[in-house]
Symmetry: none
Subunit: 225 residues, 2 copies
Amino acid sequence: MNKAEILIIDDEPQIRKLLTINLENHDYKVVQATNGKEGIALAAAHPPDLIILDLGLPDINGQEVLKELRSWFTSPIIILSVLDGEDDIVIALDHGAADYLTKPFRSGELLARIRSAIRRNQNSDQHTELIFKELKLDLVARQVWLRNEVLKLTSTEYNLLLLFAKNEGKVLTHRFLLREIWGASYVHETQYLRVFVAALRKKIEANPNKPEYIITESGVGYRFL
Amino acid sequence: MNKAEILIIDDEPQIRKLLTINLENHDYKVVQATNGKEGIALAAAHPPDLIILDLGLPDINGQEVLKELRSWFTSPIIILSVLDGEDDIVIALDHGAADYLTKPFRSGELLARIRSAIRRNQNSDQHTELIFKELKLDLVARQVWLRNEVLKLTSTEYNLLLLFAKNEGKVLTHRFLLREIWGASYVHETQYLRVFVAALRKKIEANPNKPEYIITESGVGYRFL
DNA sequence: TAATTTTTATAAAAATTAATAAAAACCCCC
DNA sequence: GGGGGTTTTTATTAATTTTTATAAAAATTA
């Protein structure tokens, strides 16, 4: 097995150094970023197996970095923070953080929590892809594959498909879809949806008039399978 | 969706009470055990969606209970303990605990960690089917097969058939069916039902005027199979 | 049992909602 | 400022749901 790769996003050099030495001693490969922007870029360029994220970053609020990462990065993110407020912890966990440790932390415990997070993630190995039958969404590259071909989707088409894919099985109302993709003032432009759903179906469905992915819920909205 | 079920294994009555009230307020179903043996037995009898395990139990060492549970129980186990020693934490996590909190703990944080653990655990969607004689409902694909052909059902037709199939054998009143499919304000639109039952029968029954699947219960409702 | 009332089945219409093509407007990016 | 691609608008057709009408079946009553 290859070394698991861990990305550290933290602006304090001494913390980065401590973590790096510790992790490398335990046979992890370490990549470092000193601010949020760099961290997101590095994660996108080459998704690591786990991210350690400090909430107190110089450029972007750590919770925002977490949200941004969580929109496509599916491996665990462990939060390190000096903040011990319950709200900070709850918000981070609800935004999809795998764990939350307050500084100062104990190395052994952090390592155990890293092992735990990586172990648990192995079962639900989603990586940065969502797969549905013949369809594969690469969240990092924003590319969609159907069988062996890359589909050419416009930005709106991709956003809509991603929204469907993230809510597999649920009925999504016209209102919800329009608000999410176009914004609150477009909630009555149902026709936009019809046009883009038709465009998507043309590209992803074997037979667009018997759709298998995007199902119409007449009078309500759509459902993705 | 059904309530998630949580098993609390803790010998302190006041902790159990506090947890139970808190969890039930957040719409979890709670089951309690006061020692390790009882906890293992309850988990085996009816596996919950998550276990909260206190390490300081009167009969068996909590770490042993964890090991025993982990040999077959696959949903998350969160450890609660007065012990704050790094070794205890590392051992528990390496034995497969999803998380470790020390008492006294903060309720909001515990709830967030429970949500996080449950969220990460739910990944495996099975392809469930319901089969009735010649009829097969594929719940994931929302497709209905009669012998070897896919039936073309409208969304409402499918929803109605699914509702029947999920309540095989029971008499379903008009009121109930209308409320489930159309909503509470439609409970008197009995005629809708008649139209859609007729449409379904036309598609699934060999002989629609001698129905074998959807049986009329005059004055009351219908019964499936 | 016959007559009456209630309930059910079905077809078909009207109304609503959805799908699709194609034209017009918009937006970048060079 | 032109051109390729994308989004928005418009128009038309198709599908689904709701409403109406009517005949048949079942239940009730005397």
